[in-house]
């Protein structure tokens, strides 16, 4: 018991504080985003979010008090379990299909959780183990190749769900871990160049054939073969053309941008965001992917700046834990998880204000979502575990 208290006194305080502030912010604006909705299930979303936060906090404490070396020791088993769970999504009666995507595991029709969320943490652990094992020569190319394979495998499974947005987050985690581990700059640059090339290639497949007069039908087949669904194509087109189909596929982007833009310096006031209350921000995505738009509309730039600052504190806390980690595995674990959380923040906000295509990535600790809250808080718990056992007094 004394041991536990001692451990808790060594917690990373900035992370803890930022986490609570962000959770509170999320609950308040989920309340706002769902204020005028008829609740069919009896329990309001913000109340459920409080429940998820409580569960998340239990996981947070659990991981914080657990030595992360247990995780790194079991890294490959955890990774394998994650792959199996991802594969189960495609098994009928176990995987649950919603809105045409198989992202959930179910028990008798009840949604259990999204394995992809579990996999994010598993990947960070396995990459920390791969690159952080004592005495490992990380400058060798074979480790870079293994790292890529280890990342590609679950990413491919997730793309197959399909959930491109979540899969994309995996690669910055790999890059961050490799970079922090001391992989050669050449390798890092090569990866970045490859990623850029892939994006360029995808874009040219979307845009160029039409320019060269390829018939629509053949273009569609080409896109299919390139692995780009019509839905993804449309989102890319909407991103590059702000006036495209404002009543259909362009709706979310246009309305979110109007919500943010009309917020001004101090916003329209809590529960006064017209885009929010009048339903121009779609009800289904308001509390999840577009909760930041509600904050920006109702609290204006002041609210935006505050939220971004708290996120910066969170990231700072995670990187600080990386800096004080007792060993390299702990440090890489913190970097990987920090990179994961950062990617969510950046992509979600950029998407909300129209600077990135709409990908369906939620905002950590603020967006509504059970699995995501629990996985994010678990990740922060692991970072705390590294911190508690860190070498930070010297």
């Amino acid at each position: 018991m004394r041991n536990i208290i001692q451990q808790l006194r060594r917690l990373n305080f900035p992370i803890l504080a930022a986490m609570f502030v962000l959770l509170g912010l999320g609950i308040v604006f989920i309340y706002s985003a769902t204020a005028n909705m008829a609740d069919r299930e009896g329990i309001r979303l913000y109340e459920k979010q409080i429940g998820w936060a409580a569960l998340g906090f239990a996981c947070f404490l659990g991981f914080a008090l657990t030595d992360y070396h247990y995780l790194t020791r079991l890294a490959w088993w955890i990774y394998a379990a994650g792959l199996i769970l991802l594969a189960l999504v495609f098994v009928p009666h176990i995987g649950l299909e919603m809105y045409g995507a198989k992202r959930w595991l179910q028990v008798g029709g009840a949604r259990l959780f999204q394995p992809a969320e579990f996999m994010k943490i598993a990947l960070a652990i396995v990459l920390a183990r791969l690159f952080g094992w004592p005495g490992r020569p990380v400058r060798r190319l074979r480790y870079a190749v293994i790292g890529v394979l280890v990342t590609l495998l679950p990413a491919a499974l997730i793309i197959k769900q399909p959930d491109l947005g979540t899969a994309i987050v995996f690669f910055p985690v790999l890059l961050g871990v490799m970079f922090a581990a001391g992989a050669p700059g050449k390798t890092i640059f090569f990866f970045l160049a490859t990623a850029g090339l892939i994006v360029l290639l995808a874009l040219s497949v979307v845009f160029l054939p039409a320019r060269f007069g390829l018939p629509e039908q053949e273009h569609k087949e080409l896109l299919m073969r390139a692995g780009i669904t019509p839905y993804q194509r449309e989102r890319i087109l909407v991103f590059f053309d702000s006036g495209r189909d404002p009543l259909g596929s362009g709706w979310n982007k246009a309305q979110s941008r109007i919500a943010v833009g009309s917020g001004g310096l101090f916003g329209k006031g809590f529960l006064r965001g017209t885009q929010n209350i009048l339903g121009f921000l779609p009800r289904t995505v308001k509390p999840t992917d577009f909760v930041f738009a509600v904050i920006a509309e109702e609290k204006g730039f002041a609210g935006v700046l505050f939220t971004l600052t708290v996120f910066a504190v969170l990231i700072y806390g995670a990187l600080r834990s990386a800096a004080v980690a007792r060993d390299k595995m702990g440090r890489l674990l913190c970097v990987g998880l920090a990179a994961m959380i950062f990617c969510h923040i950046f992509i979600n906000i950029a998407m909300t204000v129209g600077l990135a295509p709409i990908t369906g990535i939620p905002l950590p600790l603020i967006s509504y979502g059970g699995t995501f809250i629990v996985s994010t808080m678990s990740a922060l718990g692991i970072v705390q575990s590294v911190h508690i056992r860190g070498d930070w007094q010297s």
Binding site: F179, G261, T274, L278, V304, A323, R326, F346, D391
Partner: protein, 603 residues
């Protein structure tokens, strides 16, 4: 474990990338929220703000004594606020729910539904954010039943619509006119998304003074939700109620004038010679303006339009009649003023006058013998006036008639006025291709030929004789009151022109006209009253084909003779005998009652 420099550097780079990205986001959002914020506010308003025009209450019309001729009465209805019934933003279930509610309400109140599911769907499609009227014109019984249960139907509410009423029914119907539903886009208010129409004057004073009576519409800005239903009211500009009008009409006199015409087609006008106030203006047959609003049945309208007696036609100002002998005083005045005759001028009547191969005869060929002007007026001798007219010359007659207001509209503030017709020599040349002949002058001299006048013109002419030669512009509105004023602001009378008739000349004509009524041998003696001296002139004018025997009966009158208060003109479309015989007794009875009333109120 201590970090190597390389590891430290890499961690720092990672931190810089992440913080830099967040700062970049902050910058981009600053640009969107502060830099372009105004544009986004505009586009947000554009998609969620709707402007609605709010109708206002129409002004009322009173007679000179404050009796209401046109007013408003609350008309009760029930409307449904659709946003209260909203079901998950969808259209169909909401319409269904509204329809269920209408049926439920119908069952409880026992009033048949006045709407259909289709109309509800139309409303949702066309004017979703507005309350949907489902019952209109409900009686008190149905309203009471609804009031009892209204708390169970929060989405339904009592709606109050102003209804135009005409408390005096058909009385002065031609003057008041009527209203119909205004159309959108007829004024400058085209920017409204939703246009709730006002009543609009379609005829009579309701039309002429529509702007004043209508007031100005209000507007409200409502915010709609993404499904287009009303969310709340952003702001409102209260409608300005219309202003009231006070008329020159005296309802008592109006009623007497209409009674004088009872059963006949014709018109009667009573004006105040001192200021041109129209005290009564009757046209028979008439109509009840109340039947036009809110809507008139097609067959009723058809019957009104096809009625041969033309009930919608305001004979008092739109009817052009040959004046006949009532025009003779003008010939007399013209001759006197031109110096072509004096009070002592005597001309001889042989019963007829031969002129260029044609014979112009006195009525029935009676020879009146030697006559002066007064006597000639008294017995209405045609031959005397043929001769006087020829002596005077048509130019003098024409200019005198023009000055007295014939051949042009009087300028009364009512629509549909006719100018009548005062033929000039050039007019005859242009329209008939003929030169003016002495025969034409003879015809005009007895108020026949192409000459046409309106009853109002004749009343104003009688008023000019009565007041010493001042031609007023007749008027119906003597006071206006804006909705925020407590007293009527008087409208000053307008003197059209002073005709500069000398008192001596006028005295001759007035004496002749006095004799018409007051002497037993006068043609209008049937109008005479024992207690009040009056002056007048009768007329019987042929119309239609010559010799068809169809004639109008006319009489003009002013009274009391010494200090005239009333100038009157009355015409009957189809007189069986003559003006004196048909119109005289009716006017006499009317004047008797007017003076009897006056005495009663004086006592």
């Amino acid at each position: 474990m201590r970090l190597t420099d390389r590891e430290k550097k890499r961690l720092l780079i990672l931190a810089l990338i992440m913080f830099g990205s967040l700062a970049l986001l902050a910058g981009a959002i600053w640009f969107i929220q502060i830099g372009q914020g105004h544009d986004y506010l505009l586009s947000q308003d554009r998609q969620s703000i709707r402007r609605v025009r709010l109708p206002t209450v129409r002004g009322r019309i009173f007679d000179r004594n404050g009796i209401c001729l046109a007013g408003n009465q609350p008309d009760y209805g029930i409307c449904i606020y659709l946003e209260e019934l909203l079901r998950s933003g969808k259209k169909r279930p909401t319409a269904r729910k509204a329809w269920d509610m209408v049926q439920e309400l119908a069952r409880i109140t026992g009033v048949e539904p006045q709407t259909t599911l289709r109309r509800i769907n139309d409303h949702i499609y066309m004017r979703k954010p507005l309350p949907m009227p489902v019952w209109l014109h409900l009686d008190h019984k149905a309203m009471a039943r609804f009031a009892e249960i209204s708390m169970h139907f929060p989405a339904a509410d009592i709606a109050l619509y102003p209804k135009r009423i005409y408390p005096c029914g058909a009385l002065a119907g031609h003057i008041i006119g009527y209203v119909g539903t205004g159309k959108a886009g007829e004024d400058t208010e085209r920017d409204y998304h939703y246009y709730l129409p006002d009543m609009e004057g379609k005829r009579g004073l309701e039309k002429v003074y529509n702007k004043w009576l209508a007031g100005s519409a209000g507007g409200s800005l409502i915010r709609i939700d993404v499904a287009g239903f009303k969310h709340d009211e952003e702001s409102i500009r209260e409608p300005v109620p219309g202003g009231d009008l006070r008329l020159s009409l005296d309802l008592r006199l109006q009623r007497l004038a209409e009674e004088a015409l009872a059963g006949e087609c014709g018109a009667a006008v009573i004006v105040n010679p001192e200021n041109g106030d129209v005290l009564a203006m009757a046209s028979a047959p008439g109509f009840d303006p109340g039947m036009f609003y809110p809507h008139l049945a097609v067959h009723t309208w058809q019957a009104l339009v096809e009625d041969k007696r033309k009930p919608l036609f305001n004979r008092a100002i739109s009817g052009s009649y040959a004046p006949g002998s009532i025009f003779k005083p003008l010939i007399a005045i013209a001759a006197l003023i031109q110096g072509k005759a004096t009070a002592d001028t005597v001309l001889k009547c042989d019963g007829s006058l031969a002129l260029g191969g044609r014979v112009f005869s006195c009525h029935g060929g009676v020879a009146h013998g030697d006559l002066d002007i007064a006597r000639a007026l008294e017995v209405s001798c045609n031959v005397f006036f043929y001769k006087l007219g020829l002596q005077c010359g048509y130019d003098a007659i024409y200019h005198m008639a023009l000055a007295a207001g014939f051949g042009e509209k009087t300028g009364l503030d009512l629509d549909g006025e006719s100018a009548g017709l005062l033929p000039s020599k050039s007019w005859k040349r242009q329209t008939k291709g003929e030169l003016w002949r002495d025969g034409d002058t003879c015809n005009i001299a007895i108020g026949q030929g192409d000459l046409l006048v309106t009853p109002l013109q004749m009343a104003m002419f009688a008023a000019a004789i009565a007041n010493g030669g001042r031609l007023y512009r007749p008027r119906l509105v003597i006071g206006r009151k804006r909705h925020d004023q407590s007293e009527f602001e008087p409208v000053p009378p307008i003197l059209e022109r002073d005709l500069r008739w000398s008192a001596d000349h006028l005295a001759v004509v007035r004496e002749g006209m006095r004799r018409v009524v007051c002497e037993p041998s006068g043609t209008g003696h049937l109008a005479g009253l024992p207690q009040v001296a009056m002056a007048g002139k009768t007329g019987t004018a042929e119309f239609g084909r010559k010799g068809s025997g169809r004639q109008r009966g006319w009489m003009i009158l002013f009274a009391p003779f010494a200090r005239p208060q009333y100038a009157v003109a009355m015409v009957m479309d189809a007189a069986s005998g003559s003006g004196g015989a048909d119109v005289g007794p009716r006017l006499g009875k009317m004047m008797a009652e007017i003076f009897a009333d006056e005495r009663r109120s004086a006592e």
